[in-house]
Assembly symmetry: C2
Amino acid sequence: MSTSQPPLAKLVRKLASRHRLEEEDRAAILALPYVTRTYEPAAYLVREGEPPRRHCSFITAGFAFRQKLTIQGTRQIVSIHMDGDILDLQHLFLKHADHNVQALTRLDTAEVESDALQALALTRPAIGAAMWVDALIDASISREWVLNVGRRDARTRIAHLLCEFAVRMGRLGLGTEGRYELPMTQEQLGDATGLTSVHVNRTLKSLAADGLIHRDRRYLSFSDWEKVRAVADFSGLYLHLDQSLPPAE
Amino acid sequence: MSTSQPPLAKLVRKLASRHRLEEEDRAAILALPYVTRTYEPAAYLVREGEPPRRHCSFITAGFAFRQKLTIQGTRQIVSIHMDGDILDLQHLFLKHADHNVQALTRLDTAEVESDALQALALTRPAIGAAMWVDALIDASISREWVLNVGRRDARTRIAHLLCEFAVRMGRLGLGTEGRYELPMTQEQLGDATGLTSVHVNRTLKSLAADGLIHRDRRYLSFSDWEKVRAVADFSGLYLHLDQSLPPAE
DNA sequence: CGAAAACTTGACCCAACTCAACGAACGTGG
DNA sequence: CCACGTTCGTTGAGTTGGGTCAAGTTTTCG
């Protein structure tokens, strides 16, 4: 969409979408020391139990996910992140990681010094408020996932995840209305919804057979958003879109 | 445990357990305007979709839970809260509630003015840091619940919840090592674990039959913590106990 | 072009659900 | 403080959504 911009501009944009920032706030963010880094698909950014790294990273391109394992080795993806998302806010304040973070696709990040960012969060009220909004929306999504995985059947669950993706990617200009490239394998979809890949496959086929979605490779399109939304029991409320508008610019 | 103290002292204690507070920080908290309020079991404190109330409440006695409903009316409890927990941090920064909050037992709260608390969070770094730690631990618990509900079988799931309770209540001095009063019906346990009350009942009986737990009314005791913990696939890591020590005092 | 990863499909199975009835505990008012 | 209605817990019988296992097929990518 936008031409390539300095990585920190993306962070400014993200935070400005969460809370009004003054010129000084923007300048303070743009002055943060940072490095950029690229990860291959499946590469680990953070491992459970690790002490915090000295850097806090956010996505400048690609997708990542958070994940936890049971003792038996079954995996649950607990959230998915895309362009502009901050990946380890936790590490700014917690003493060890409670989950794993992995690249989903090839992933570009910018990593800013934790101490510097923490200082901004605590001393510049507008930046602090923006980060609070961001973290609280994350928490809201997590609660919705508990509901999704705990109380919806496979069909609804998958459809719900597809709707969340449609909305979030749409906001970012990745994909257009009702059509986007899903950057996940069916096994990963299963891990995100608490299902097996086999059942994900059958469920996707069933949704397609009912004309709700159309699939071509990993490209997904919805024939009728309202119908899918109804099947998915999806309401965008939990995404707090009114507090995550991409800035006009 | 402690003799009755002014409600805000409880908030100070909670935040001080999350991050070191100076005398000035404590004084600022104690100076917050507040009212106390009592709710009957099942009373709603917050309803999904509501605009934020002007008050932010925390628990001074009793239990509460957060809950979301599917379109079909099935319920998922997404978190449970006890003495000292802050109930609607979200409302400090988000424009509408994304879930319901209900009293689980008879519940005493203190409600402080949102604006005043928000100001403290944004302008007093130590208080801000304490609130960040608190919110991030909440988010960590939510991720663990996604895993619990998404990838564990009924037996493990229930046992895990019982372990979480044991640890959290133990910390608060509610109940002693391996024995506490579970303030939930089996239906509520089901809503918290994504199971039906019938299956919760069978699972509890099976855990008891195997000598892992002992039940008397709603009182629960663990015969062997290590065994239950193993069955539950429980590790306290996600509770970040090293950052939630009750203050020595 | 060839190997590996991802996707499909079928047959069978089982953990958890549903429905239904009954017993135990609780709390509320007379 | 007892009666009785209501909520909560318990149990059985039968069902089913989603899992497992296993064998292809298609896609991807080096």
